[in-house]
């Protein structure tokens, strides 16, 4: 078989196809178009499956884009190609949907450096959100969901691995540790035979989030879940729990790539959504059930309005114990965003003395400012 040539016409069509992909949210850079043309020169373009596989290998860069690619491929090149892979079939809903309103599965879209730098400036101003604040978050517009994601990524970046200015002795360090080296040389009469090294200390901040999903928090639960989902995906060292009367660990569920799927798994796994609130019992269950999650590199964030229906003494004890073992204890209260709110509920009164940070979390602005409290 003579090697098939990529004809000018095919290149043109491929360019158009790349444009279509871009319109559907794929990266498909001009470089990709060039690669696609080169790739088609390398396979048998008369073979439908080769043609399809080659374009997919070059033009898809993340698993989330596979579905859009298959749809575009069908629409653009016609239906006669090989059946889509099992993954795509399984992950393609029967009813085609362009962008499910709940879906954050493109949360990572865009993401050039420039955009990231502008991030803070692009956050909606408080006045924009004033109207949203008291509004049910189920009608939160999609752009705002993207903003939630952006905030979460921003926070994740602040938390990401940072080198401290301090040094520590280390066997695998890059710089010689002169002080220690000289001390070691004493035993060999001043001969430098054994070298000691040092390296920069790494700050390994971890995050534990305990979110109240009881009835009184219903208004904010949706925003928080979006936020937690995005946070889980941007930052590897976060453990997430929800509670109302009982505590459930939802870290694994949030790891689902698709937000709708994560929600489905959550509603299957967590039984007491919007129930009463037993904050103390739940926090105590956390302290006792996951003692190893708390250490001096861990920041604990409690998201709750503090409407405690259980025993406030238990709450106080649980918080005291968390405060002792964690690096920082942050309580985010959505009600704090309201000017006339005073933290006088029994739960809040008991909690306040134990907190390092007590901050509002009713809108994006306040979530964005959370980053400030998270640098250890």
């Amino acid at each position: 078989m003579a090697p098939p040539r990529t004809t000018a016409d095919l290149v043109l069509r491929t360019t158009e196809f790349c444009r279509l992909l871009r319109e559907h949210g794929l990266l498909a850079t001009p470089g990709d178009t060039v690669d696609a043309a080169r790739a088609l020169g390398l396979v048998d373009v008369t073979d439908r499956a080769d043609f399809h596989d080659a374009l997919r290998a070059v033009l898809v860069h993340r698993a989330e884009d596979l579905r859009a690619f298959e749809e575009c491929f069908l629409a653009f090149w016609g239906a006669a190609h090989a059946a889509p892979s099992a993954w795509v079939r399984r992950n393609t809903p029967a009813v085609p949907k362009k962008e499910p309103p709940l879906s954050l599965d493109r949360w990572a879209e865009g993401g050039g450096e420039d955009e990231e730098e502008r991030e803070e400036a692009m956050l909606p101003s408080p006045s924009d959100l004033e109207s949203l604040r008291r509004q049910d978050f189920s009608s939160f517009p999609d752009e705002a969901l993207r903003d939630v994601t952006r905030v979460a990524r921003h926070i994740a970046r602040r938390l990401a691995l940072r080198r401290s200015r301090r040094w520590e002795p280390a066997r695998d360090g890059a710089r010689p540790n002169l002080r220690r080296t000289l001390r070691l040389s004493v035993k060999t009469g001043g001969e430098l035979s054994e070298l000691a090294f040092r390296k920069r200390k790494v700050r390994r901040t971890k995050l534990v989030v305990l979110a109240d999903v009881s009835g009184s928090m219903e208004l904010y639960a949706r925003l928080f879940l979006q936020f937690l989902f995005a946070l889980q995906h941007s930052f590897a060292r976060v453990e997430t729990f929800v509670f109302s009367t009982r505590l459930s660990r939802i870290t694994e569920q949030l790891k689902s790539r698709d937000y709708a799927q994560a929600l489905a798994e959550l509603s299957a796994g967590v039984t007491d959504w919007n129930g009463g609130t037993r904050i103390g019992e739940s926090l105590k269950a956390f302290v006792e059930g996951w003692p190893r999650l708390l250490d001096r590199h861990t920041i604990v964030i409690v998201l709750s309005d503090g409407w405690e229906t259980g025993d406030p003494v238990v709450l106080g004890e649980a918080l005291a114990s968390m405060r002792r073992r964690a690096a920082r204890l942050v309580w985010l209260n959505p009600l704090l965003g309201s000017p006339d709110y005073e933290p006088l509920t029994q739960g809040m009164v008991v909690a306040l003395p134990h907190l390092d940070v007590f901050a509002p979390a009713h809108d994006l602005q306040s979530l964005a400012q959370l980053g400030r409290h998270l640098a250890l």
């Binding site: 390398l42 290998a57 698993a63 892979s85």
Partner: protein
């Protein structure tokens, strides 16, 4: 199908890696276009094996960089062998040679500890560079990696710029514990490996665990396929199927029943909650249909 792709698939299968043409096409294009191949997929579907088998197919040296949190350029690229340098200075103490030359000695290549990336760049002949679990390294390292992958050259202040004579084939794997940057994704060809179909998994088990009887292989793969439909917190991959198959061979088992599954659960379930959930379902006979003789 293009002959070259068929050949790649054949060669990979001959090396014991059961695959399909989409994978073969990606591997072929990556090596021909000279682009890194980014492989993503669930744990235990054979992402790392692609690089290993590619090295065997190309008859190339496999150089592996295992990523982890806190991995830095020194561990990945090069390091001076300080103790050796010191020793050399000592031995050279009474030499009459000028200082400049003696200095050049200890900063020559024989005092360089080559870490995987530099090994791949300086390797004579063909090499496959496997950058395993790149999602576990941090963003700064990703940026550094991008730089190395685009030029395949590094500058070492004391030695000068080292350039790759032959560019290694590069395979990156990610378990998606963290999203990789678009910049890195753009640089790579992308391959998503899904859990295999029953037919493919059967072929994998047969080829990798030859001691297993036909009947048992079919029972085991059918069972594993149904396992993946359950809501488990750690869904077992192909690696688990293979472990389990090997265990069954060691036990001289000839048919899969609830009792045997119960005894060997630990081969494919690695989470305590999953173990408990499945064992209670087994005890209730719920999964009996799965393991009925076929």
């Amino acid at each position: 199908m293009r002959e070259d792709i068929r050949r790649i698939q054949e060669l990979m299968e001959r090396e014991g890696y059961v695959t399909d043409r989409a994978v073969a096409t990606s591997v072929y294009l990556a090596t021909t276009l000279g682009k890194p191949l980014l492989v993503e997929g669930h744990p235990g579907v054979g992402k790392t094996d692609i690089a290993k088998v590619l090295a065997r197919v190309l008859d190339a040296e496999l150089i592996r960089l295992q990523c982890y949190e806190g991995l830095d350029a020194n561990t990945a690229l090069y390091e001076w062998n300080y103790p050796k340098q010191l020793l050399h200075i000592k031995l050279d103490e009474r030499s009459e040679r000028p200082v400049g030359q003696r200095e050049a000695d200890i900063f020559s290549e024989s005092f360089l500890l080559k870490r995987p990336l530099l090994q791949a760049i300086t390797h004579q002949g063909r090499a496959v560079l496997l950058i395993d679990e790149v999602d576990r390294a941090d963003e700064e390292f990703e940026a550094f990696l991008l730089e190395v992958l685009s030029d395949f050259q590094v500058s070492i202040p004391e030695v000068g710029t080292v350039r790759a004579k032959t560019r290694p084939a590069v395979v990156l794997t990610s378990n998606r514990s963290r999203d990789l940057s678009d910049a890195l994704r753009r640089r790579c060809l992308y391959l998503w490996i899904d859990y295999p179909t029953l037919e493919k998994e059967l072929r994998i088990v047969r080829s990798r665990v030859p001691g297993l009887s036909e009947k048992l292989a079919l029972q085991l793969t059918t069972f594993m396929q149904s396992m993946r439909k359950l809501k488990l917190s750690k869904t077992p991959g192909v690696a688990e199927s293979l472990d389990w198959a090997a265990a069954l061979v060691a036990l001289h088992a000839d048919t899969l029943d609830a009792g045997l599954v119960q005894e060997t659960l630990g081969c494919f379930l690695k989470d305590e909650a999953d173990l408990r959930a499945l064992s209670s379902r087994l005890a209730e006979g719920e999964l009996a249909a799965l393991s009925s003789p076929l």
